[in-house]
Subunit: 373 residues, 4 copies
Amino acid sequence: MTSVFENEDLDHDSVENSMQPADSPELRALYEGFDAEHLMPLWTQIDDLMPMSPKPKAVPHVWKWSTLNALARQSGDLVPVGRGGERRAIGLANPGLGGRPYVSPTMWAAIQYLGPKETAPEHRHSQNAFRFVVEGQGVWTVVNGDPVRMSRGDFLLTPGWNFHGHHNETDEPMAWIDGLDIPFSYQNDVGFFEFGSDRVTDYATPNYSRSERLWCHPGLRPLSGIQNTVSSPIGAYRWEFTDRALTEQLLLEDEGQPATVEQGHAAIRYVNPTTGGDVMPTIRAEFHRLRPGTATPARREVGSCVFQVFEGTGAVILAGQETRLEVGDLFVVPSWVPWSVQAESQLDLFRFSDAPIMERLHFDRTHIEGTDR
Amino acid sequence: MTSVFENEDLDHDSVENSMQPADSPELRALYEGFDAEHLMPLWTQIDDLMPMSPKPKAVPHVWKWSTLNALARQSGDLVPVGRGGERRAIGLANPGLGGRPYVSPTMWAAIQYLGPKETAPEHRHSQNAFRFVVEGQGVWTVVNGDPVRMSRGDFLLTPGWNFHGHHNETDEPMAWIDGLDIPFSYQNDVGFFEFGSDRVTDYATPNYSRSERLWCHPGLRPLSGIQNTVSSPIGAYRWEFTDRALTEQLLLEDEGQPATVEQGHAAIRYVNPTTGGDVMPTIRAEFHRLRPGTATPARREVGSCVFQVFEGTGAVILAGQETRLEVGDLFVVPSWVPWSVQAESQLDLFRFSDAPIMERLHFDRTHIEGTDR
Amino acid sequence: MTSVFENEDLDHDSVENSMQPADSPELRALYEGFDAEHLMPLWTQIDDLMPMSPKPKAVPHVWKWSTLNALARQSGDLVPVGRGGERRAIGLANPGLGGRPYVSPTMWAAIQYLGPKETAPEHRHSQNAFRFVVEGQGVWTVVNGDPVRMSRGDFLLTPGWNFHGHHNETDEPMAWIDGLDIPFSYQNDVGFFEFGSDRVTDYATPNYSRSERLWCHPGLRPLSGIQNTVSSPIGAYRWEFTDRALTEQLLLEDEGQPATVEQGHAAIRYVNPTTGGDVMPTIRAEFHRLRPGTATPARREVGSCVFQVFEGTGAVILAGQETRLEVGDLFVVPSWVPWSVQAESQLDLFRFSDAPIMERLHFDRTHIEGTDR
Amino acid sequence: MTSVFENEDLDHDSVENSMQPADSPELRALYEGFDAEHLMPLWTQIDDLMPMSPKPKAVPHVWKWSTLNALARQSGDLVPVGRGGERRAIGLANPGLGGRPYVSPTMWAAIQYLGPKETAPEHRHSQNAFRFVVEGQGVWTVVNGDPVRMSRGDFLLTPGWNFHGHHNETDEPMAWIDGLDIPFSYQNDVGFFEFGSDRVTDYATPNYSRSERLWCHPGLRPLSGIQNTVSSPIGAYRWEFTDRALTEQLLLEDEGQPATVEQGHAAIRYVNPTTGGDVMPTIRAEFHRLRPGTATPARREVGSCVFQVFEGTGAVILAGQETRLEVGDLFVVPSWVPWSVQAESQLDLFRFSDAPIMERLHFDRTHIEGTDR
């Protein structure tokens, strides 16, 4: 499998296309026949259709949180939230994807904004969704009737076909990011959608959702929940647990014990406790912490991912181009684009990706530059 | 899960979008800000992005084999086969997909044509491929060095990253259909490609490939092949076995035994013998036989599929529109479009689909009209 | 599958054995021939060999903790702990199993006792082991070099082939129960054993083991531990989490939410976080809490299990016979023996069983009396 | 994991048991207390209970087919077949297993004999069963109402809880071997049993069972049977397929292709076509063919197996002791006993084992002498 990396110069461009016939009236007639019959020849398309390695139209891009946040606030002033539009969410539109609201070919990423005392009405859809909170608090998301508090650092799930709405209990607005598989669902025509209650079904504001009270006990599984579920039953993965897990990994590394993925780089994956696998069938979510001064080796991966800086400063190098990062900044890594991250301070990064799609369909590949992996 | 079918009239169109603000200079400035920062709001996009049920851009369509075959023959006269273009394959381009060579959002289907004594050079790619032979013989496809005879009714595999080339041993041309996951791979940026030998690596013409000699013994597995493989190790699924399996199902039905999927409708799935599952991670393949006079109930399924008539005459009803079918005709069923087939004579149908994608990602749904399934 | 329960009167005893031939010299010669050639006929054995439903030789039995504890203390005075005998463990010997140290045909259960400042030397074996602590503290078990604190209510693992030893840091003795699959391993000849260090390899006494620091964060998985493991990587399941999980289930029940397995009966299973499945391939472990006054319906299950009372008082009815229960008491339920538990006070019960064996080999069956399950 | 093989001399015998206290009145009182309370100490039992490597009580043994067959014929004369005794089956009783009718701790193997026109009545049981036919023909086994022909070289299944009976259509007696998991079921108390019809429910004598007509088409799966089943749905694995599969492996080896498990040694495993895995949850079945002069390396495996010579002559070396083999001879290999087979002529061997138990519970280990595997 490694030869593809070594022979990347032997590509379509280096090979004469021996199948390009000379122009002739007969050929034109043939091509017109193709058009009339809804046909297209491979021999004129193959360079684009079947590249030597992934050539994504999506491009690497960084969005600044300060800019996103300001535009979201303005939306809060100008655009009401309610039925029909459903959410005051502003999607990151990859500059390479021709004006579609897709952060990558598979994923939607948006900043969602809810003003003081506002409610976003309930609905459900096949698309799998999560939220991640880089700052703020005061909103509860109600998932199938279970109110889930949203606070800084929390990762929250609304897997496909679960009713959900949000409401802001406070006098302050709140913004967070949403991630969904909308582009994948749209492209492959898999989406169903249903309206629910115009108000959320339960305005209670408990500290912990019922899903957490049932499921968030390490290594324990309720006997009433012994059937595996396609997606995680946990509504919220709390920051306190994520922070503690990463802290312990770095402490263990200090003690000379195996715990981190590479020197100075702690990381956890959010998982479905019924299987140990990804939280949802199409979306992987992880949290990474780099010690000050740590730089990850350049990696290429099949599939796309998005990072958001949660804490600290540093830089990302995407296809050789470096961009400085601050809290809240988001960047997308399209398929097979080399990326590495450098931590100035301790750097905390939330990450999500379409890796479950790639793995379940056996398209996953990783290459770490300078290695034969 | 059934409410979505019952409430299809309660859709986006029936709901006022309460989030459409009145035009104003401030709103225009906001929207310009979105554009400048590569952002797009959900509230103007949701009707298209998240329909109440799949609204595929792909449309149902029937291609006549007689037309395809004639154009393929003309291509044989005008277009050489060889390195660069790689294959004399003419892709079915769904009329709804804007001039892309995609039969559906996920799948490529093409007629491939190889003239007397011609060779299509070896290459390999991540994309999964199969061939199905509706007529003719005389070509061998060489898969990782194993020559595989291609004859009428055979279903042949070249799973991702296996080197393969073809050569025609005879003085007659041969045409068959190719199916691949090219659109899915292209859309999601997963494809790798590598050139191999300009000639096939083995011009032997055995009746049975080594893969068949090792693997095609019912219920038996070679101990040397006891590790499971991602895709089926079988190079060719021979018509004689398919025909016999279907014949037996109908005979068993005659004897009052459970064997068919529904009255008068025999069917088999081609499987990976190491797992009992689909032959490749992205493509399902099946063969269906209807007794004369049998009509299947109208079905909607998430995901797209393509049928080719192998033998007999009948009709297909796609979204309410009936088209007559003859040997070799192909038709595509986009996601969630109701379809049914009616057999005039005994009707033999080859079918392939993206069902493994839908099932592995848990987007699969089926609705049979007139039932609560 | 239910007919077996309804027709239990139609058993071997109700059927004349039509194959019992009259005695004759020829028959005797035949039977002698069998003996000489190491053969035995089925027709004389079948009633015993293949009963209508499981007829375990193991019998229900209750062991009193006060008695066990007293004998363990005496052993502490009389028997040194060390290499060769390896552990000061006293196995529960089911009265029906003919003097073998088996609590059931598959499982070993013992009280283990470690005096002040004593060390039990390191070794490893194929047999899977756990410990459960009904009282006391002060011992650390060192599993593959990782010191794991043992305290009241903790459930601790040493899966097959992990080196482990114990040491008591205090001036007080400590006793706990061990559970292993020794009888199963012995019967089926699967066991390997290896001596390790005569002292434990690390006398540190941390509050939390490295395994817990890496793995005990709910819903989070270290990226460094992303490969699944046959057994759970968690060294200790702490009482505080078990207690909290059960408390929350009962609170949720109070709130009218689904959370308990049946009214007044909260329960968790200890699981392998990499799979969501049982902690070890042969042993299931659970903890049950009954509200005061709760009585479980009589259940029969294929496979055997052992309970230990952790807190509270109540009674168990085993095959119709009731025995009062106090803290620390242990009882065994052989296969298919009906059992139910009644809580006087709130009753906390630790349970372990061979259910993973039964389920993986598809022998599992459950019958709840008075239902058609 | 290899150290256990290298350090086998460091075993219990080489270590002084430091826990054997000096005899004293107090110690005697303690041990009497243990007895009275149904307790047994580990420190007096561990050498036997937890050996350094498996020390099976079962011993290697060879049974001669000529002897078995003669005794079975005598049974046919003296013992009627019918309800109660159920089958005229004579079990191989391992000389090491104390007079139990067990060929190994997990498995039953028997010669079953059915005289001209006799019927063995229908019943069903949890125990999994197969038959293998080393000679003869003329019996049909009726499995859940499906008549299955039994002929030389066929391997036939009656998985747990399927009704089955047999009848001999001819004027000649027929004998074959039965394999079941009776000892495992008995030991672990998992067995249920139910009587069925006193006569078989269908006396038809078709060449192929319905199960074969539905399932025995290589690489094809009926859509009506798309749900996986715990055990194989195939009633009979015919000799013609087994023979052909092995013949092809040796031909491929002649052609320099990878196909055999080792030089001169072809082998297949019988599998469940719905999963590619073992035919039943507790029993593995294989067929091996050695070229003349081939000798397999000495292997030790955890778990026990039985071989029957189907054709040819050769020898088996069991724990260093060689025995000559002829057609029909059976031998048992207890756990971890080294075995190798030598072919004089071409040697065809049927084999069954408890390997699925070992693998599902992760006790499997193999050691090939002279290697580090």
